[in-house]
């Protein structure tokens, strides 16, 4: 017990007081800019020593004749914008400006910076900084233009009928993608910074008149309390702020699809966009949300219902079928009818391994093939499939390593685990298989029952941002079942799900058609 408590304490160390995100603190008198340009340039060069990609362009500001310098980090800026909108007007044009503080720069976002810490932050984030002789502040110009990919369809969350836009690695672009779906003033954004070494911008998006403020406060508390070096990916953030890091199951959804994010926002959940990561975080979610695909809402509802039931069934198959096979073959063969068990025995007579080892070999083989298919480049990945088909197939049976029923079982579990729409959940379900197989090999079908009880107990005690994880099922909220195991017609979903506690219960509009008196 003590050991486990210590483990938990170690896990809690990361979350303590909110940090002030101070990079290398400097003495106060050094942190402010000087009046003279040359001193500022020297200071800048000493700050960015051994930084060959720092470009400092000195020139004369034509309007006043004062010497000036423009600094930026090569590669993080848009050269066109700097040449045409910054340097060109400063070098060649004269304007009759009454106020000399107004700069003739055609750039949207222009700030004054007074401190070196702000300047280095601006430079590192792709702003260019303009120093002018005689000013004890600098201007930051929004000339960001780092390499980023075009917006394309998401690779891991393919959809047939949804949008073909996936998130990219730039936070502002991702927010824009979500805004395209929800063009409402109520979509609010709360910006936070995470990371001691490199500050990642983390934006919490929510609908102000729908989402519950308590959940946002909890989310903010967890994010601001993080003391980490840096966050590279949304998955890292998810793991750092989730309720139970020791659980097998993902407690927050990460998605690459803007339409999924928008649909979750409209249900009253929160969406966390992490800059530099191509997926966003959805919180708080329940177990059922992992089985809902965005396509469900754009296909006919009976079809969507069928597929959704198929997913739940597949989840059970993927987790329990190999275990059930082991239990039936090695323990409870009285379950199987006589003629069937005779034929199985005939096939198994050549197999030297006990059922558990046999199943383990095949399952691990399958996982290796799957992983190899993911890692390899696409042209070679095809080959893996073919090789796998041969290995987990007739050849293995003929070689007498496994029985052909085992091949059927493994193939079914593989297919079943691939149809889950959420990658994290599919991986968790695949992982549950192994403990279940182990306990089934020791205690047969009763072992499976005990194991599934442990899983149920774990699921009902899990929380997602303090909300019940198993929500529409336990605690049972029948009204939410319109969208859990089945999907009723959209016109019936007038209210937002109860399991996401929202301020506004009803969605806008009554969705009634003319002559349709259902409510």
């Amino acid at each position: 017990m003590e050991f486990i408590r210590r483990l938990f304490k170690a896990a809690k160390v990361m979350i303590d007081q909110p940090s002030h995100n101070q990079q290398t603190p400097m003495p106060l008198e050094l942190d402010h800019l000087a009046n003279s340009l040359s001193m500022n340039i020297t200071q800048l060069q000493s700050l960015f020593s051994d930084t060959p990609d720092l470009v400092i362009r000195s020139f004369t500001y034509k309007q006043t004749g004062a010497p000036a310098a423009l600094a930026y980090l090569d590669g993080l800026v848009d050269k066109n914008s700097i040449n045409n909108n910054v340097l060109h007007p400063l070098l060649f044009h004269e304007f009759d400006l009454a106020d000399h503080d107004k700069l003739p720069i055609a750039i949207g976002d222009l700030h004054r910076l007074l401190k070196w810490s702000d300047i280095s932050f601006a430079l590192l984030n792709g702003y260019s900084v303009l120093f002018v002789e005689g000013y004890d502040y600098a201007f930051s110009l929004e000339t960001q233009g780092w390499p980023q990919r075009a917006i394309s369809d998401s690779q891991i969350e393919a959809s047939l009928k949804g949008a073909h836009q996936g998130f990219i690695e730039t936070g502002s672009q991702n927010i824009a993608l979500i805004r395209r779906y929800i063009s409402s003033q109520q979509l609010k954004i709360k910006e936070l910074y995470v990371g001691e070494r490199t500050r990642s911008k983390v934006s919490i998006l929510y609908l102000e008149d729908v989402a519950l403020p308590e959940i946002r406060l909890e989310l903010e508390r967890r994010i601001t309390g993080l003391r980490v070096d840096c966050i590279l990916n949304t998955g890292e953030l998810a793991e750092l702020i989730e309720d139970n890091p020791f659980s097998l199951f993902p407690q927050l959804i990460t998605t690459e699809r803007p339409d999924t994010a928008a649909s979750q926002l409209l249900q009253g959940r929160y969406c966390v966009v992490v800059d530099r990561s191509s997926s966003v975080l959805i919180a708080p979610v329940g177990l059922a949300a992992f089985f809902q695909g965005i396509d469900d809402y754009s296909t006919r509802w009976p079809v969507a219902t069928f597929f959704r039931l198929l997913r739940y069934f597949a989840c059970l198959i993927a987790a329990f079928l190999p275990a059930f096979y082991i239990a039936c073959i090695s323990f409870n063969h009285e379950l199987i009818p006589l003629d069937l068990i005779l034929s199985i025995g005939e096939f198994r007579s050549a197999v030297p391994f006990p059922p558990f080892i046999e199943a383990l070999i095949m399952e691990i083989m399958l996982e290796m093939l799957r992983e190899a298919g993911v890692r390899l480049p696409a042209p070679i990945g095809q080959t893996v499939g073919i090789v796998g088909g041969i290995v987990i197939g007739q050849a293995a049976v003929q070689a007498g390593i496994v029985s052909n029923l085992m091949v059927v079982v493994v193939a079914s579990t593989a297919v079943a685990s691939f149809i889950l729409p959420n990658f994290d959940m599919a991986a968790s379900v695949r992982l549950i298989r192994f403990p279940m197989m182990t306990i089934a090999s020791m205690y047969g079908i009763i072992g499976i029952m005990a194991g599934s009880m442990v899983i149920i107990a774990h699921l009902i005690s899990l929380k997602s941002l303090g909300e019940a994880y198993s929500s529409p099922i336990a605690p049972m909220r029948i009204t939410d079942w319109k969208d859990v195991f089945i999907r009723l017609p959209l016109a019936k979903m007038v209210k937002r799900p109860k399991s996401v506690r929202t301020l506004q219960k009803r969605r806008y509009g009554h969705m009634k058609q003319k002559g349709d008196d259902s409510s």
Partner: protein
């Protein structure tokens, strides 16, 4: 002890908890016991038992209304002083712990008998220790959620019995009252134990969110139990002949043994292993109630530690003593009087005492 906001249960969870404490091991030998007592008139016994238990449940709710923010032991301490409270804690804790042991061990016996003859009882009990501990440490709310998850199973059980109507011999039920009323009344006394379990309401009541629905809830819970009991009792009567049925000890499992599919030989094994989840559901609420008592007695340690300790001791006891079917039967006949006392005799008495006290206190302050 005031139940915190974080451990309240919804009405549905309350209904399910009461229903699940009643429905468990008792159902398995029930049809056979009824038939041994009074032939195929057993269903009348069930209805009488349901009436009696519903009345007693309503009395329990009336008692708890007098002190809505505490369990029965708090109520007794409040009205009769600290020592009565302490004694009641000990009595309740002992009652629940013996009851839990009976069910827990009976479950292991059943599994050993029907599925795993080679495995010792204590190992089978150990298998269910971990999940039971995981659920119980979350309090009534977690136990309620567990019961909600198992709703699917509770619905599937009657549905799986549908094939049993295929070869039904309804003639077995006739004539009604073939032996008169006396055997029926005798059987009521011996099978009333099947309905024991609603006394968990003594401990559930303070946790309930909507206290005004407590009476409705407990009636619904009792009726659900009655429905399942009636269904399987009648099914046993129409599938087995009246003389045959007295030969079976675990009637329910034998009943499911009748069902066979082309792809599944022993359906009863599958049903029993699924039913074991429902059996666990019967004793974990009692376990938490027992822990409430031991906590208030002032025994050191967190509630989770108490849970773990009780369960471990039970497994250890089984390992050392290794009781068989006969010991289990003896234990159940011992607990029968205890259970009837706590569930059927105590509530009316307590209610009467409280009413008298109330009246005298009113007279004292005109």
């Amino acid at each position: 002890m005031n139940p915190s906001k974080g451990n309240q249960i919804t009405l549905l969870q309350y209904i399910l908890l009461i229903h699940s404490v009643q429905l468990g091991v008792g159902l398995i030998p029930l049809p056979g016991d009824l038939a041994r007592g009074c032939g195929t008139d057993g269903w009348i016994v069930l209805i009488i038992g349901w009436l009696v238990s519903t009345i007693c449940s309503l009395i329990i709710i009336q008692i708890m209304k007098r002190y809505p923010n505490g369990t029965i032991v708090d109520l007794l301490s409040h009205f009769f002083g600290k020592w009565v409270g302490k004694v009641s804690m000990v009595v309740f804790a002992c009652y629940f712990i013996i009851f839990i042991y009976l069910i827990y061990h009976r479950m292991a016996l059943l599994i050993q008998n029907w599925i795993m003859q080679q495995t010792s009882n204590s190992v089978l009990m150990l298998l269910f220790l971990v999940p039971a501990y995981m659920i119980t440490k979350g309090g009534f709310r977690m136990i309620g959620r567990y019961a909600e998850v198992l709703i699917f199973l509770s619905v599937a059980l009657p549905l799986s019995a549908i094939p049993l109507f295929k070869h039904a011999q309804w003639i077995h039920l006739l004539p009604i009252l073939k032996h008169g009323w006396l055997p029926i009344l005798h059987t009521v006394r011996s099978t009333i134990l099947a309905f024991v379990g609603f006394e968990i309401a003594f401990f559930l009541y303070p946790y309930l969110e909507k206290k005004e629905s407590a009476s409705i809830g407990i009636i619904v819970g009792n009726s659900a139990t009655l429905f399942i009991y009636l269904l399987f009792t009648v099914l046993s009567y129409i599938n087995f002949s009246p003389d045959d049925i007295t030969q079976y000890h675990n009637t329910l499992i034998s009943l499911f043994k009748i069902i066979e599919f082309r792809f599944l030989e022993r359906f009863d094994i599958l049903v029993l292993s699924l039913y074991s989840l429902l059996i666990v559901r019967t004793w974990i609420p009692m376990l938490y109630a027992a822990v409430i008592c031991t906590q208030q007695l002032g025994i050191k340690g967190q509630p989770r530690l108490h849970i773990l300790l009780i369960l471990t001791l039970m497994v250890g006891l089984t390992w050392i003593w290794n009781p068989g079917w006969n010991d289990s039967m003896e234990l159940s006949s011992f607990i029968e009087h205890f259970g009837i006392g706590i569930a059927f005799v105590m509530p009316p008495l307590l209610w009467a005492i409280l009413a008298v006290m109330r009246r005298s206190s009113r007279r004292a302050t005109p």
